[in-house]
Amino acid sequence: MKPLKWLALFIIPLGLVIAAVPQNTTKPYKLTADQLLGEANTRTQYVTPDAVADMIVNKDPSLQLIDVRSQEEFEKFSLPGAMNIPLTDLLSDKYTDIFNQDVKMNVFYSNGTVTANEAWMLTRQLGYSNIYVLEGGLNFWFDSILNPQKPASTSPDEEFARYDFRKSAGAALGGGGPIQAQTAQSQVASSPKPALTSAPKKKKVAGGC
């Protein structure tokens, strides 16, 4: 049989198979369900408002706040330095570079924590690291940072330190109250800042030519 006929006999069936089979999904999940559940259960993704406020006030360049609410809500009020990625646009290609990196800490926030957690689950499943959720969302942010409750006189010193910090941070960030001395900030026993994990970037190779 002529070579052409052999070739046709071989590649036409292959072509038919590949045409018939549904297109393979391109982004396989990188974390298993068990791993993700483990992380969700230990609440490792949460960052306290104190830690975030601290970073904002100290102008920490590794912080990247991401507001996952709609654009209108973002324009009405947003945290300083935050960018707006509505949850519906989260998986769009234009934001891949923001997630696929190991330089900044991306902290999602929304009014509560539901939407921010949804964003966290999605991006974590795709294998991105350095992704966090603002604990309590904007609601808790208002209560704790912008309008901190003065602790009762019998509370421990740490509470007062935290209160002072919050008041000054809140003032710096747009809340009410006079600006206190700088010393209060360094005494805050806030939860330790989450450490940046160095995740190797999945960079596409440059080809062509």
Binding site: P3, L4, W6, L7, V205, A206, G207, G208, C209
Partner: protein
């Protein structure tokens, strides 16, 4: 008794088999390195190296060098394509050696002289070198590898190359047939 004239045949691989093997080489490149084959990029590497060696200050301002550096950090010669092209040189030589095709010569149609052929080769090379930079690839990089990954740009470049060559073929026919 009539004498039948023998058609001289150089022993080449069956083109379909050659195509399948080429496809497998291309597949391995994509699987291992995440990119297809190429050729003109290696030439670009050499030219950039030359430019930066001969005139480092001027090259630092060159848009061309800057564009190259955007996708290649470090030594411009330490790229995938340069190593691949060195391999092509070796592979071509081995194949020629095995098939007994190693011979210093200028291959040309009997209707033109060697000298004319060399001038044509030089002209063609200059045009192709320039065009490959504009087109971001040559037939190997853009057309072949581009087609295999279904790239639109690769397909367009391929159509432009072959379309133009077909269109101009009539005017250069004396050089070939």
């Amino acid at each position: 008794m009539t004498e039948t004239t023998e058609i001289k045949k150089t022993k080449y691989l069956n083109p379909y088999l050659g195509g399948v093997l080429l496809g497998l080489v291309l597949l391995s490149a994509n699987f291992i390195a995440g990119r297809g084959l190429g050729a003109s990029g290696a030439i670009k590497s050499v030219v950039v190296t030359g430019m930066t060696t001969v005139a480092p200050a001027a090259s630092a301002n060159s848009g061309f060098v800057k564009e190259f550096r955007q996708s290649h950090e470090g030594n411009p010669m330490k790229t995938w394509l340069v190593f691949e092209m060195l391999g092509v040189l070796v592979g071509g030589f081995l194949s020629g050696a095995i098939a007994g095709r190693l011979k210093l010569k200028v291959e040309h149609s009997p209707k033109i002289t060697s000298r004319k052929r060399l001038i044509l080769a030089l002209t063609g090379g200059v045009l192709f070198g320039f065009g490959s930079q504009l087109g971001r690839g040559c037939t190997s990089g853009s057309a072949l590898s581009g087609m295999a990954v279904l790239s639109l740009g690769g397909f367009i470049t391929m159509m432009a190359i072959f379309g133009t060559a077909f269109a101009l073929a009539y005017f250069f026919r004396k050089n070939w047939i």
